[in-house]
């Protein structure tokens, strides 16, 4: 359970006013419990891909399906982690995490148990009764991840989740996410413009062209990770030093630079 499929998906924004083609014939299959990252230049439509899986937007042509069924509306089987956290400011950490469970109609003892588990998983136990504004950005994003994980979703959609965090916090969160993905694997669609992050986290990385976005190439990271045994290293900087990592990163980097043309980073 939890496979995602894009089948010749186009997206045109404002079709009545001439229209801007954001996505052009996207084909992508994500297997159950696979972690796929999409990287691309800004404005290439990578977030739009995620929003269509979430059910926030509909394709202009083609089909986006989860478990073989076309997506029609948002739902708790596809939990989203937003770049700007999107926590409810008037709810405590516990209440934020609880909302999805209450919507499922679960009884209080089970909810409490699952909340406790999610708090422990994200090291939030001592902040359960804090309000979001009392927490740092990194802590807020932990809450958002806990809120998504606690629903035990088939699919986890992460839209540049660490983009708003400072560099140190970002590294900690990336390591945590890898740990989480090992303990509790999910189908993950992860959007980012940080190439290292994508290579470090994902099983496969899809590189997109600039607008109108198409999938330019898909790299298999997992086979390299397993062959070179990246997981023997605990720390992200040690993995990033490996020749095989550098090779992949540089390849993606060059691929993206072609897209940015003369204005490349």
């Amino acid at each position: 359970m939890g496979s995602i499929r894009f089948d010749k998906v186009d997206k045109v924004f404002g079709p009545r006013t001439g229209g801007v083609k954001a996505l052009d014939s996207i084909d992508l299959e994500i297997a159950e419990k696979e972690f796929v990252a999409i990287v691309g230049p800004s404005g290439c439509g990578k977030t739009t891909c995620l929003r269509m899986v979430a059910g926030f937007e509909a394709p202009s042509a083609g089909v986006v399906s989860v478990n073989g069924k076309p997506v029609t509306a948002p739902g708790p089987d596809r939990a989203v982690v937003f770049q700007q956290f999107a926590l409810f400011p008037w709810k405590t950490v516990r209440e934020n995490i609880d909302l999805g469970l209450r919507n499922k109609g679960l009884a209080k003892p089970e909810r409490d148990e699952r909340i406790a588990g999610a708090l422990k998983l994200m090291n939030l136990e001592s902040h359960a009764d804090a309000f979001p504004h009392q927490l740092s950005g990194g802590m807020q994003q932990r809450v958002a991840i806990a809120r998504a994980y606690v629903l035990d979703p088939e699919v986890l959609l992460m839209d540049e989740p660490f983009g708003a965090l400072d560099a140190q916090t970002r590294v900690v969160m990336q390591e945590e996410l890898v740990r989480l993905a090992r303990v509790n694997p999910r189908t993950v669609l992860f959007i980012t413009h940080a190439v290292e992050e994508a290579v470090y986290l994902a099983d496969r990385v899809a590189v997109m062209t600039r607008r109108p976005g198409r999938i330019k190439e898909i790299l298999d990271i997992r086979s390299v990770r397993e062959a070179e045994n990246w997981d023997r290293h605990q720390k992200i900087e040690d993995v990033m030093d490996l020749e095989s990592f550098v090779h992949l990163r540089t390849h993606i980097w060059k691929s993206l630079r072609e897209e940015k043309g003369a204005h490349g980073v």
Binding site: P74, P76, F88, P89, L99, R102, N103, L151
Partner: protein, 262 residues
């Protein structure tokens, strides 16, 4: 000029200066004989009349009794406006079809001044409690509805998306997402509503036959008892200010609690 904050003492000082200038000019006009007394009673006359009215009845009741009677009507009117306006505004902010039904009607009706309802208020709801309450309601209702609607309509879209992906139903979204998100706007609306409701009071009490500050003023006007009319005006001004101060405190408390400002 606006960017230098004043100290509390300075603010009180300037405020007192404004008040002193008003009272000074007023005293000068009346005591110099430039304006005849019945035309404009002096501040002393008004103050004296107010003190008298604290214990001596005029038009059947003392000033505090008139005020209490007015305040009761006022509270019913504003409460009714809030109880109908806020939920309706939130529902309109969430359900597009309701918005499409109510907005055109409301946009036409809200430009009719509360006082224009006086004949019908008396005709439909009588001159006891119903009629005056309707007029105050007419004054207080629009800001309740508009602010709840705007607050609900302009909730950060990300929060709505987060609620939807968590599987939140309509009722729970309205109560737990729209209502708290719209609360600052609703509270600001209630403050405006409280003010407009109080302003509608004199109009509402044109049709009252028993008691109320507005009633007292109408009676005094008929007797050309100008100090009494002005005493009523001052009382309305002071009570209105007190209501606003109380609501402002409530609003500030709410903002602090929500962590919106230090």
């Amino acid at each position: 000029m606006r960017d230098t904050p004043l100290s509390l003492a300075e603010r009180i000082g300037w405020g007192a200066l404004g008040l002193a200038a008003l009272l000074g000019t007023w005293t000068l006009l009346t005591s110099s004989g430039l304006v005849p007394r019945p035309f404009l009673p002096s501040p002393g006359d008004v103050l004296g009349r107010m003190i008298e009215l604290m214990s001596a009845p005029f038009a059947g009741a003392t000033l505090p009794q008139h005020l209490a009677s007015s305040f009761q009507r006022y509270a019913y009117g504003v409460l009714l406006a809030a109880l109908i306006g806020v939920p309706l505004g939130l529902l309109m902010g969430w359900f597009r079809w309701l918005d499409d039904i109510v907005t055109p009607l409301f946009d036409a009706l809200r430009f009719i001044a509360p006082i224009a309802w006086v004949p019908f208020a008396a005709l439909w709801f009588g001159t006891g409690i119903g009629g005056p309450v309707l007029i105050i309601f007419a004054g207080a209702f629009p800001p309740c509805l508009i602010n709840a609607y705007r607050g609900a309509r302009f909730v950060e879209p990300r929060l709505i998306e987060a609620a939807r992906m968590l599987g939140t139903g309509n009722l729970r979204t309205i109560l737990e997402i729209l209502l708290p998100a719209a609360t600052p706007s609703i509270v600001a609306g209630l403050r405006v509503a409280a003010g407009l409701g109080w302003q509608s009071l004199v109009g509402a009490e044109l049709i009252v036959a028993a008691a109320g500050v507005g009633f007292m003023m109408v009676q005094a006007q008929a007797n050309v008892a100008t100090p009494t009319v002005m005493a009523g005006m001052v009382a309305i001004g002071i009570v209105g200010m007190l209501i606003d101060i109380a609501l402002r405190q409530g609003e500030a408390w709410l903002r602090r609690r929500r962590g919106l400002e230090a």
